[in-house]
Symmetry: C2
Amino acid sequence: MPRARAAVDVFQAVADPSRRRILLALARGERTVTQIIESITLPQPSVSKHLGVLRAAGLVAVRRRGRERMYAVRGEPLREVRDWADTFKKHWDQHLSRIKSRAERTARRGKESRDSSQATPGKAPVIPPWPVWKGKYL
Amino acid sequence: MPRARAAVDVFQAVADPSRRRILLALARGERTVTQIIESITLPQPSVSKHLGVLRAAGLVAVRRRGRERMYAVRGEPLREVRDWADTFKKHWDQHLSRIKSRAERTARRGKESRDSSQATPGKAPVIPPWPVWKGKYL
DNA sequence: GCATCATATTCCCAATTGAGAATATGTCAA
DNA sequence: TTGACATATTCTCAATTGGGAATATGATGC
């Protein structure tokens, strides 16, 4: 019921592209906020705010060095993300073989009349052809 | 700079816990919307809407079976999530060893210029102790 | 102290989000 | 056709979000 806040939930924290870019910039080693700002084009307050979210999610660690702050990746929370996605590995392995078998089936019969509107009683494809719009699946 | 919409971006789509639960429910095989509703406690319109988002992200496939609809996981987009998170594997592998080596380096007379913020000569941990609240890092 | 650099915080705003209720669409069965 | 069932869509609402500008805090050097 409670909405997952980006300030706490790793998946939410990682959902923002700017934050992923920040993490990527930090992947090679510690960076100051100024260095991060240089690598990704984003105003300083935004970067600081994103860093705050990443900090709240435990994804970065801070250390003071003089008047600057060194940020470093703290990758451990990402393990959950990886493990979760990895759970579905079989589903993306299976995907191609499914497409393949479907293609073979379709090729064996000449033309397909209509697809998702009516499933053929004998063999109903699990994965229908997917409408694509702007490079994304609809 | 455009905000990533959940209806298109995989990371966003996966950021919602309810949607992750739906995917988990589908992980074992095709399910009807009603079956999904039964496995996760959430009102039907919410489930349908979440399924719409998952569909828009290419994470599920639909197939009609009579008056019901069978949803199935389409895991391929999750590969990007996994690969991205996997990029940081070294950061959770090397986490402890990094603290260790840095502690050793610093202990060996930390020449590292001025850590004017109370660099306790002897050990300056890269990762400060992390405040935890409700099992999450703050 | 004072000016300056580095970073964080606050405030405002438009857009997105997710829940919930009500309603609409579509399909089967009698 | 009528009615029950399965699912989707619409609408409203409150909360969250991210950007931008302005401002605040904090450390350094003179």
